[in-house]
Symmetry: C2
Subunit: 161 residues, 2 copies
């Protein structure tokens, strides 16, 4: 039963969703509500040196306005702080807070645990093989997360009628 290409695509999407949805749920259980990959990526970019909204936008391939909006929610949650830059009054310097780093660590941990579960299902060898294959196919790093308010809690987005 040689599968179709469309099935393959769906399979990949399904795998991704399974991981991300589970991760969001698990993070909520641990007290970090509604943390989505977008948030993680954003904090990571800030930690990696994107210390103002414009620069952040550039790194995430998103407009500075959109970046500012995301920063606003992260600031509200206490994950990111914004202080005036002493060297340039125009800028507001961005910083990931201790709480922010805590969330990032928790996120990593959750994903690693999920990966372990997969390892138990199909075996270490097999999982590593799968990763190697995918790496060969899509390259080691790529991934612009791109569009995605997506990557949101799916359970809350179900129509009522």
């Amino acid at each position: 039963m040689s599968r179709s290409g469309a099935d393959l695509a769906l399979l990949l999407l399904g795998g991704f969703r399974a991981l991300v949805d589970d991760a969001i749920v698990e993070l909520t259980k641990r007290g970090y509500e509604d943390v989505r990959p977008v948030h993680d990526f954003t904090m990571r970019a800030i930690a990696a040196g994107a210390d103002n909204a414009s620069e952040l936008g550039r790194r995430l391939s998103v407009s500075k306005q959109a970046a500012a909006k995301t920063v606003a929610v992260l600031e509200e949650r206490g994950y990111v702080a914004r202080e005036p830059d002493p060297l340039d009054v125009r800028r507001k310097r961005l910083e990931v807070t201790a709480l922010g780093f805590e969330v990032m660590r928790a996120g990593e941990a959750v994903f690693d645990e999920l990966r372990d579960k997969w390892k138990q299902k199909i075996g270490t060898k097999e999982l590593e093989r799968l990763e190697a294959d995918l790496t060969a196919l899509v390259g080691p790093s790529p991934v612009r997360v791109d569009a995605p308010g997506w990557l949101a809690p799916p359970s809350t987005r179900r129509p009522t009628g």
Copy 2:
């Protein structure tokens, strides 16, 4: 170098995006502009018996209004026809047109070709193994495509500054 769980998720997303983005581009080349997975899924649901907007919404787990909007664009493109239902004046019966089926076939073909390319990259055995593993992990059918205006032409959505 045991990879992290987050990398695994990114890898899966990357694979999916690679296939879908390539497919959209390829379909455009063949004269079917801006055909997205959403459109394909919708037509498939209609062909499978969801012959009115409300029912379609239910099958796609989306509000009937949202379903109606999607139908509107498919109708405009001539992929789907809407005729009054003789048995129930309230209903407008949905039907996939010949052109609509043509698009679906083209889509399948493109995905199959992309899968062939992958097969050439890592080998038939290896690809089938990857599919088997993923199937074991996420189940054979799942996938609610869910959120997605996503699955849109990424190249057109890049900020200008």
